[in-house]
């Protein structure tokens, strides 16, 4: 399943030019608001006709301005989950869910109601009307409605942005299941680093209507300079790991990663499950000697690779732990006091408490890498190029 996009579109003073190819199961469009994420998704969904360009999904040409092809939205088979749900207020949940299915010829129906109800846990809501649903329930119904139209591609435009943190944590596992089980490629728009780093198999970073970077999450999220300013605080290292064992006595879970064992608060997933951990640079401390009498449970030996100033008072220190580069954000004063320089052996220290549902989730690598050794990084399944064309 390949998604090829190469479009140019002007909206007033704003100009969008984007070109990339993705084979990813969940391609995230990441960037601050106004960077062109939603415009790009609207073009893919057929709500906006691009000035010029080409969109091919799984061999089907949806747009090709050169040959005058423009498939209207209702014939694209591209599902769209909107930020505000957009459920039909005059229809019940059941009628909402089955709306798109009704327009799909029988032989094209690849998704059935039972599966969707089970996947999203919305079986008990069928006879209600949208007005009687909570925000999280609405979004799950909206996802189900898009799925039941049997799309060949699913667009999700900030589906969690309108929800509070608790509702987000409630829906994220459903989106993970969708990514790993539904066999429909997803384009996921977000400005939240937590969502993108947890869900994406490929990330396309948009900035001012251009693609600033595209690639695997481990690659792209390492580059803090690409992060939207509001996400810089959340920036860090994304590593792939596997659940080694659970410690019932203390309610902890030990993860096996290339950087070493990492202990996190209990995760409700079986041992052996691949998970993705985002270690925020601000949560990592550095010691030059092995610490004693310290509450933090994770002490990972490594070597300093680089120091980058981050503002006036802060430095971002890269530490190589078993081939994984962990970022640590320290004050410049600490870095100088410790005499940090590339090549210096150090210990990276991480509190287990810093690992919570917003930084830790099931890895998309799980389905692919089952049986491999723990801690193997994700094979890059996406090819991408941020190109700038023309003048």
């Amino acid at each position: 399943m390949t998604i090829e996009i190469d479009v140019a579109h002007r909206l007033g003073a704003f100009e969008l030019r984007a070109s990339f190819t993705s084979q990813g199961r969940l391609t995230a469009f990441f960037g601050r608001s106004g960077s062109g994420k939603t415009s790009l998704v609207n073009i893919i969904g057929g709500l906006v006709r691009p000035d010029r360009g080409r969109i091919v999904v799984d061999g089907a040409t949806l747009v090709d301005t050169a040959s005058g092809v423009f498939v209207p939205a209702h014939r694209r088979r591209v599902g769209y989950v909107f930020q505000e749900g957009r459920l039909f207020p005059h229809l019940t949940v059941r009628q909402n869910l089955l709306f798109g299915r009704w327009f799909r010829p029988r032989r094209e129906r690849t998704v059935d109601l039972e599966t969707v109800l089970d996947l999203l846990g919305i079986g008990h809501l069928l006879e209600r009307r949208p007005g009687a649903l909570s925000g999280g329930e609405k979004q799950r119904v909206a996802i189900g409605r898009a799925l039941l139209a049997s799309p060949r591609l699913l667009l999700m435009d900030e589906p969690l942005a309108a929800l509070d943190e608790a509702r987000k944590d409630e829906i994220l596992p459903f989106i993970e299941r969708l990514r790993d089980e539904a066999n429909i490629p997803i384009i996921y728009v977000s400005h939240s680093l937590a969502e993108v780093s947890r869900l994406a198999t490929m990330i396309v970073v948009l900035r001012d209507g251009r693609i600033a970077a595209a690639g695997s999450p481990t690659e792209v999220l390492r580059r803090t300079d690409l992060m939207p300013r509001e996400a810089a605080d959340e920036a860090g290292t994304v590593i792939e790991a596997r659940i080694l064992e659970h410690d019932a006595q203390f309610g902890l879970t030990t993860l096996q990663s290339r950087a070493g064992p990492v202990r996190a608060p209990h995760l409700d997933l079986p041992a052996g499950t691949a998970v993705r951990v985002r270690i925020r640079a601000r949560d990592v401390m550095i010691a030059t000697v092995a610490p004693h009498g310290l509450s933090a449970l994770n002490v990972l030996p490594g070597t300093v690779t680089d120091l980058k100033p981050a503002g006036e008072a802060l430095v971002e220190v890269g530490v190589d732990c078993g081939g994984v580069r962990l970022g640590a954000r320290l004050t410049r004063k600490s870095a100088e006091t410790l005499g940090l320089e590339p090549g210096l052996p150090v210990y990276a220290i991480l509190k287990s408490v810093a690992l919570d549902p917003s930084t830790l989730g099931r890895s998309p690598a799980d389905a692919k890498l089952r049986g491999d050794d723990a801690g193997v990084p994700v094979r890059d399944e996406s090819t991408a190029a941020g190109t700038r064309k023309g003048g």
Binding site: H74, R76, E84, P89, H90, F103, G131
Partner: protein, 234 residues
């Protein structure tokens, strides 16, 4: 009271005629009303302001002027009237159909206005969503837009009906005041007030008029509430 509501056969004829004229006027103008309202609410085209003005004109013009314009256009010798009579056998002048036409023209602006406002209030993002689910523009209108504007359509129909029940000036100018053919309730009441001893008859028909108007209002309230509940029920 018994004697008061004891209508004579002629008075019953006027009541029945009025209801028939108003009903036909309302139903016949409904498709055009929805189409014009949709056009005005959604489309941009040259001459839109002119169409808007023409639709509203009967509301502003003296009814007698509207009636006279109808007479010279749809009368037997009028261009449209002659054409329709010759090719389709439809005659308006001095027939109840003419009364219905006059009432429809007078009620049309009210109907269009009400429907137009409800179309403009529809969240177009819902229609976009329906499109991404595979519905072509026709199905989108039928399953999304139409149910959402139903309360507005009902309100527009009732307004048109009420206007038609009360229409006097344009009707009497266009099709005169012929008992049993074009004499609607207002014309009949007017006639009663013009003859000595007609007060009782005028009062009886006035009461009937009030009863019909109240009934129409209540039916519209009920229907609008029902439609609204279907849409917004929590």
């Amino acid at each position: 009271m018994d004697g008061l509501l004891n209508l004579s056969p002629e008075e019953w004829t006027a009541v029945r005629l009025s209801v028939r004229v108003a009903t036909v006027a309302m139903l016949a103008s409904l498709p055009a009303g929805i189409a014009v309202a949709y056009l005005l609410a959604r489309c941009k085209f040259p001459g839109k302001a002119i169409l808007d003005g023409i639709v509203l004109l009967p509301l502003i013009l003296p009814p007698v002027v509207t009636g006279y314009l109808l007479l010279i256009t749809f009368g037997r010798r009028g261009p449209a009237g002659a054409f329709l009579a010759e090719h389709f056998g439809i005659v308006f002048s001095f027939r109840w159909t003419g009364a219905a036409l006059a009432c429809a023209v007078m009620g049309f602006p009210l109907m269009v206005r009400s429907i137009r406002l409800s179309i403009e209030a529809v969240d177009r993002r819902l229609e976009e969503a329906a499109g991404t689910l595979g519905a072509n523009p026709f199905w989108v209108f039928l399953f999304i837009t139409f149910p959402l504007i139903a309360p507005g359509i009902i309100a527009g129909m009732i307004l048109c009906f009420a206007k038609a029940m009360g229409e006097f000036g344009a009707t009497i100018t266009f099709v005169s005041n012929i008992p049993g053919e074009t004499q609607t309730l207002p014309s009949a009441i007017y006639t009663f007030t013009q003859v000595p001893g007609g007060d009782a008859g005028a009062l009886r028909l006035t009461l009937v008029s009030i009863a019909i108007s109240m009934a129409a209002l209540m039916v519209s309230e009920l229907m609008a509430r029902w439609a609204g509940q279907k849409i917004w029920s929590a």
